[in-house]
Amino acid sequence: MASSMLSLASASPSASLSMHDTLKGKVRLGSGNLTAWFHKEKSNPFINTKSSGRISMAVAVNVSRFEGITMAPPDPILGVSEAFKADNDEKKLNLGVGAYRTEELQPYVLNVVKKAENLMLERGEYKEYLPIEGLAAFNKVTAELLLGADNTVIKQQRVATVQGLSGTGSLRLAAALIERYFPGAKVLISSPTWGNHKNIFNDARVPWSEYRYYDPKTVGLDFEGMIADLKAAPEGSFILLHGCAHNPTGIDPTPEQWEKIADVIQEKNHIPFFDVAYQGFASGSLDADAASVRLFAARGMELLVAQSYSKNLGLYAERIGAINVICSSVDAAARVKSQLKRLARPMYSNPPVHGARIVANVVGDPTLFDEWKAEMDMMAGRIKGVRQKLFDSLSAKDKSGKDWSFILKQIGMFSFTGLNKAQSENMTNKWHVYMTKDGRISLAGLNLAKCEYLADAIVDSYHNVS
């Protein structure tokens, strides 16, 4: 083709030029049939797209720009589900991703969601673009759900709320805001934390470091370590906190500990940044699970809060959440909201409508809202039941006297078993129990029927593998 023409030009000018002109002439005549033109090219004796080195330009042009790109490592959490699917053993158990399952280990679409979707289908609503900040009705109810409808900050319109793509999308917007307006500021994340937090801050170019959180000796909170690390951080750092049901450990601070954490944050002039992915899922009560956030807001602090409706409304795949920034004034909230919009526009223009409508319909309708609370109570209840049964089974089967009560103290979908990497691998390789290598199991994927089997697997892995 053309490029080979150029390299041939160096060999014999007149012949190749005339060929080139002829070809150009053919192009101009615009022979309608592309394929015919192409095939004529192929049979042209001057064009040999395979052999000689002089034609290297023709070959080079077909080489992809992205030649050197290597395969990305599989996501540590989502990769677990993929491995589980590939396993044919009938005893297999998926305790990987934090997605709720029923006692029959089936995914669960909440009844209120089905009702809301039916309403929406009947109404036949339009599919026009949402504004950049999302559905107004959704933004209103999500802030109220988080803070309480009669909260001062809401009444005073000091909350900038922008609909986001579930927790991830909302965190990313916040990270972009931090990068733009607090260049150089660090985010402190708990050790351990949800695997994707690091990816989000890395890609947003926000530096991060860890604060101590999990104490393997007690399988509980390393409170002293946490406080020390918060105190040692440079003033004005952003502290990423899990509002409730810490992921992956399931270990939450007590109310008294929250007060002390707030003290240190105020003292060091840090900014609290909450990730609320499990409101309602931890204790079964939406209000109780928002207590930590409300405590900080009540102190008059400015804070960031990312929300997700993936778990508590089972809307995982609809990608519905929000980023809230509680500011000290109405004016600040308006300005911050405008800048969040400016960050969202070049990311995806405006957020998806379907999930937002579902949430707005469920939370905005008193009957549906009550039904939702009941379903949530049921889901959280099932998990608590499973925790109890697992604890009972472990206590019965483990003759070593090890104290497994931390399982009962932990809260939410996950439990940090205290198993190390090798032990976790044993769980998978020998027992076909799929979990993440940090020892985290998703109790949402466990049912009463399998508790004994799981207990056997844990006892074996803990004692016989190091």
């Binding site: 053309a2 490029s3 150029l6 192009v27 615009g30 592309l34 192409f38 042009v61 077909n62 080489v63 992809s64 720009r65 992205f66 790109i69 290597t70 395969m71 990305a72 996501d75 991703v97 997605a99 995914p107 679409v109 289908l121 036949g124 339009y126 599919k127 026009e128 673009y129 950049i132 793509l165 991830t168 307006y181 607090f182 994707n196 990816n199 989000i200 004005g236 105020q266 002039n269 900014i271 008059g300 400015e302 995982y316 795949a317 990608r319 000290s328 600040a332 308006a334 300005r335 800048q339 400016r342 960050l343 526009r345 070049p346 990311m347 995806y348 223009s349 998806p352 409508v353 379907h354």
Partner: protein, 423 residues
């Protein structure tokens, strides 16, 4: 800088007051030039107001449309529980069908699986994913955007921190393509530059290269070893024929370019609010396709994890059910036809009013938009006095024109233009 100032001055204040001024240095963002037009329109209470701002299709009554094929698809999937485990299969189906649409179902790249395809958050999301990918793997590269282009293209590549340039495109006097200048810019750009191209129905100008011109451009791209990135937001809307509208891409394909393409289903399926699109990057072989796909998914994972399933299910259903797809093809043609008719009507009305200006471009230009040539002053005048809203660059969304308002619109345009630009 701001934070430091705050901290030095506030050392004498108590802790609780100090904590309350984190956002003092955040200024109000400028309004988005396109969405702000809709905002202004909504705030206007005049009964004769017309919104020619955002490129969203309207029927002849000026109402948004839910395509029948979508209603059929909704009915088909209603009651199916679309759960996380199914959504990745649905997503793959969507990508499969999307690439067939743009590259042609019999194309070699499809048969050989030589593409990395991921679902994206409509056109914006697809462009952003590509921009981030470009930054990550060609950090020193730049992007050449046509002048003019959709305003959000500038935002996208800027936020991805990729340096941007423009290349000549629109000829303001001809109100057509400045082909010579375009080719010069293509030739003068450093070898191996990244270019963004609108495969059809250029936004905002409605000016597209001819088939011959596309072949010349493709040829020159090969000579210069440039990377062509296509933003396909209006497939079906330009000519009414989905394959015809993809001709430019297929020319590049035949020429052997390993291009990238962003696709949006916002307009041609009326799925605006659902954010459904696709990004594909063509590769040498399947192995590379798998690697690139994994990297694209990694970028998406840190932005929003996964795309929303509802719209995906709809598109996937429409494209894979032969009856529903046939209906869709008809409906797209219907939408394109209505817009063509409005173009003709507007042009005729202006001639009938005795406007002495050349309005040929109204029917020469293609797709949803007409680059009217109106000045910012005239645009403001139209809004103020006539309650007609469009973006400041004079871009009119023809989808907002109806048989009911076309005469009013022609009259208004005539009023603001009859005394020349300085009136």
């Amino acid at each position: 800088m701001w934070r430091h100032q705050l901290m030095t001055t506030s050392r004498c204040f108590s802790t609780s007051i100090r904590a309350l001024h984190w956002w003092d240095h955040v200024c109000p963002a400028p309004k988005d030039p396109i969405t702000s037009v809709t905002e202004a329109f909504l705030a206007d209470t005049s009964p004769v107001k017309i919104n020619l701002g955002v490129g969203a299709y309207r029927d002849d009554e000026g109402k948004p449309v839910i395509l029948q094929c979508l209603r059929d698809a909704e009915a088909k999937i209603a009651g199916c529980d679309f759960l996380e485990s199914i959504s990745s299969a649905v997503s793959s189906k969507l990508v499969e069908e999307s690439v067939k649409l743009v590259y042609g179902k019999d194309s070699d790249v499809i048969k050989e699986g030589r593409y990395a395809g991921v679902q994206a958050l409509s056109g914006t999301g697809a462009c952003r994913l590509f921009a981030e990918f470009q930054k990550r793997f060609h950090p020193e590269s730049q992007i050449y955007l046509p002048n003019p282009t959709w305003s959000n293209h500038h935002n996208i590549w800027r936020d991805a921190q990729v340096q941007q340039n423009t290349f000549s495109y629109y000829h303001p006097d001809l109100k057509g393509l400045n082909f010579t200048a375009l080719m010069d810019d293509v030739k003068n750009a450093p070898d191996g530059s990244f270019f963004l191209l609108h495969p059809c129905a250029h936004n905002p100008t409605g000016v597209d290269p001819t088939e011959e011109q596309w072949r010349e451009i493709s040829h020159q791209f090969k000579v210069k070893n440039h990377f062509p990135f296509f933003d396909m937001a209006y497939q079906g809307f330009a000519s009414g024929d989905l394959d015809r509208d993809a001709l430019s891409i297929r020319i590049f394909l035949e020429d052997g370019h390993l291009l990238g393409c962003a696709q949006s289903f916002a307009k041609n399926m009326g799925l605006y609010g659902h954010r459904v699109g696709c990004l594909s990057v063509l590769c040498n072989d399947m192995k590379q396709a798998v690697a690139i796909k994994s990297q694209l998914q990694k970028i998406a994972r840190a932005m929003y994890s996964s795309p929303p399933v509802h719209g995906t299910s709809l598109v996937s259903t429409v494209l894979s059910d032969p009856d529903i797809k046939a209906l869709w093809v008809k409906e797209v043609k219907g939408m394109a036809n209505r817009i063509q008719t409005m173009r003709t009507n507007l042009q005729e009305s202006l001639w009938q009013l005795g406007s002495s200006l050349n309005w040929q471009h109204i029917t020469n230009q293609v797709g949803m938009f007409c680059f009217s040539g109106l000045t910012p002053k005239q645009v403001d005048w139209l809004a103020r006095e006539f309650h007609i809203y469009m973006t400041h660059d004079g871009r009119m969304s023809m989808a907002g024109v109806t048989t009911g308002n076309v005469n009013y619109l022609a009259n208004a345009i005539n009023e603001v233009t009859k005394y020349g630009e300085n009136a």
